[in-house]
Amino acid sequence: MNLNEWIHSNTIHHSQFWDLKKLVEEKQRQGLKISLCLPTLNEEKTIGKEIVMFKSELVDRYPLLDEIAVIDSGSTDRTRDIAATFGADVYLSADILPQYGEKKGKGENLWKAVYQLTGDIIVYVDADIKNIHPRFAYGLVAPLIYRPEVHYVKAFYDRPLAFSQGVRPSGGGRVTEILVRPLFSLFFPDLTGLVQPLSGEYAVRREVLDKIPFPIGYGVETSHLIDVYEKWGMEAIAQVDLDQRVHRNQETRALGKMAFGILRAFLVRAEALGVIGKLPELSTFLRQFQVSNANFEQIAYEIVEEERPPMIELPEYREKFGVAL
């Protein structure tokens, strides 16, 4: 399949899946179990809303989700309280597989969810979405239910508020367009077919999730895409347009840290896959400027992109799910 064919056949708008009754019937026919994972760190403003809505629409009204779980990195606000009030299963990331220690980062929560949650499909949705809607979960799960060859479904968001002409630019955020898309264009051209490779919402089959490593920080999305592409090919990846997503806007400096983490994870992957030659030892420090009393000072942020191994390599996991290496 060439890239244009892939874009045509594997880019889907969520409105195709409006018939939730039919979706649930097909899910039940296949005997699938679906888990929703909400990774959190201080999301008290939005978490309650997400849980209430998913529970009402996708558990009570249309029983698509079998499990709604919050994996929390140690919030200091009321995130865990609120989530529990509205009936989600709430886990502290540090309490899951404690023998493997605790690392800080969203990727850590996603990785631990693979062990803790029981679904055949796990759909990850960020907890900071202000305009939450059931489509954020069913839109991502549906291609996995209807198309057996698809293993990894990524969200993207594209709804122009006003546009008069036939052609308009589309794509991802600043880090995607300035860093990730150029990198993919250079080294993994097929992956440029993804409109928003960094979006935090995706649904994945367990048999894929337990076989890929998880960088614990910013690099997790980029690294997943490369790994799924290398192991299963573009056919296994699909992307769904979920219309608009409203969330917090990040400052450019914060995006600098994100870009640093992604670049490190990318280079490590590219080196391991032999796409680029041997790299020197990479620094873990990002240096940014601040000015105090007309003096320019550098601040160094340490951004460590550690990686968790594929879950299937853990004996605890193989025992819990009855699978072999």
């Binding site: 008290e44 403003k45 939005t46 309650g48 809303k49 209430v52 809505m53 529970k55 009402s56 629409e57 009570d60 009204r61 009321r78 309280d81 609120i82 009030t85 509205f86 009936g87 202000k130 305009n131 939450i132 809607h133 409203v246």
Partner: protein, 393 residues
């Protein structure tokens, strides 16, 4: 669950356990609240919110769901007797423009966001009633007509509800207006009212040399002073509220335009008319003395009226509220109930929960009292349905 009652005592006996039985509807209600409340719905632009309201009713399997020319949305929960109808109304518009961030935050005990109480919650309650009836296995004798009315606030002047009442063919027995706040409110009478808009313009060609001698602000200020001199009687109770004033551009630019929005209320229709005539005189006088163009328009008005405090509907509401240990706050209303009563339909306005910061961006409702509010609403419905709120022949 028993739904046919021959005395109010039977309903009151059910009340203590009712809020607890309603709690499982929480997710559905809050979801409806979020979905409806996050769609901006300024007066005259309620279409998207009402469309979703209708969609939710259709999803619940309601057979009769439709919109009308005035932009209202209507759905019917069928009763056993097709000839009887009870009207439930919630206005769909809010006071916020579509530029306001309408996101709601759901905390463990409260929900925060613009318009959450007025009246996203009222509308969400209507959208949730079909699910609530299904959950409890309820069917009433009368049909329940769920009306999400358009153009309710300000310049909307209840036009949506008015259109519905003029053109609706179903005979109604009683009406309940559902408002998000405040739990315990009971409105069954309306004050006479008009809302006025005064606009003042000074011709642009008055040069800077005359700045300070004349301006739309000075002229309007004169009008305001004269309005404040209008004698207001204590009985019948009457008031003038100066609500909003706008005018001018910057520190040193002569104001060529200014405007005032105000409201006059009175228990007496004669007082309302007398004040209106006084304002017309004041504006005419100011036009001649300030070399300014004044326009005075009445953007909405209501006649005073109400049902009697001894009406069985009012008495039933009061006993139900007492039984739920609610402090009843009786107050006249300018809203939907006034239109229903003016058309001879016995009607009350009920609130669903406790709210604070009304009409601020952090408008807040408390979640737990919602179940008491819903129990109150169901009990009043049972009483109307059982014929316990009819006036003796």
């Amino acid at each position: 669950m028993q739904t046919t009652f021959t005395s109010l005592d039977g309903i009151l006996a059910l009340l203590p356990s009712l809020p607890g039985r309603l709690a499982p509807i929480q997710e559905t209600l809050i979801t409806n609240l979020i979905m409806l409340g996050e769609i901006p719905s300024p007066t005259f632009e309620e279409e998207a919110r009402i469309k979703l309201f209708l969609q939710r009713l259709v999803e619940c399997g309601l057979p009769d769901v439709s919109g009308d020319e005035a932009g209202n949305g209507v759905g019917i929960i069928p009763g056993r007797n097709p000839d009887r109808n009870i009207l439930l109304v919630a206005h769909a518009d809010s006071v916020y423009t579509d530029k306001t961030d309408h996101s709601l935050s759901v905390l463990s005990d409260e929900i925060i966001g613009p318009g959450v109480a007025d009246n996203a919650l009222g509308l969400a309650v209507l959208a949730t009633l079909p699910s609530l009836f299904e959950m409890l296995g309820l069917q009433l004798d009368a049909n329940l007509v769920l009306l999400s009315s358009s153009k309710g606030l300000g310049r909307g002047n209840l036009d949506g509800l008015r259109f519905f009442m003029e053109n609706n063919i179903l005979p109604m027995e009683a009406g309940i207006c559902v408002e998000g706040a405040q739990l315990g409110r009971l409105s069954y009478s309306a004050e006479g009212m008009f809302r006025g808009y005064i606009n003042c313009r000074i011709p642009e060609d008055l040069g800077w040399q005359r700045a300070g001698q004349n301006s739309a602000i000075i002229a309007l200020n004169d009008v305001i002073n004269r309005i404040l001199e209008i004698p207001i009687p204590r009985r019948p109770r009457t008031s003038i509220v100066l609500g909003a004033i706008r005018g001018g551009k910057s520190y040193n630019i002569m104001a060529t335009q200014s405007s005032l929005r105000f409201e006059v209320r009175s228990e007496s229709a004669g007082q309302v008319q007398a004040i209106r005539e006084r304002v017309e005189d004041i504006v005419a006088h100011a036009t001649s003395t300030h070399n300014a163009q004044f326009e005075f328009s009445v953007v909405s008005s209501r006649d005073p009226g109400g049902i009697d405090v001894g009406h069985p509907l009012v008495k039933s509401c009061r006993r139900i509220m007492e039984c739920l240990e609610l402090e009843t706050e009786i107050r006249p209303s300018m809203s939907e109930v006034s239109e229903l009563i003016a058309r001879g339909l016995p009607a009350v306005t009920l609130g669903i929960t406790e709210a604070s910061n009304l009409h601020d961006l952090d408008e807040t409702i408390r979640i737990k009292p919602i179940y008491t509010g819903l129990a109150q609403l169901l009990a009043v419905l049972f009483a109307i349905d059982g014929g316990l709120c009819n006036e003796p022949e």
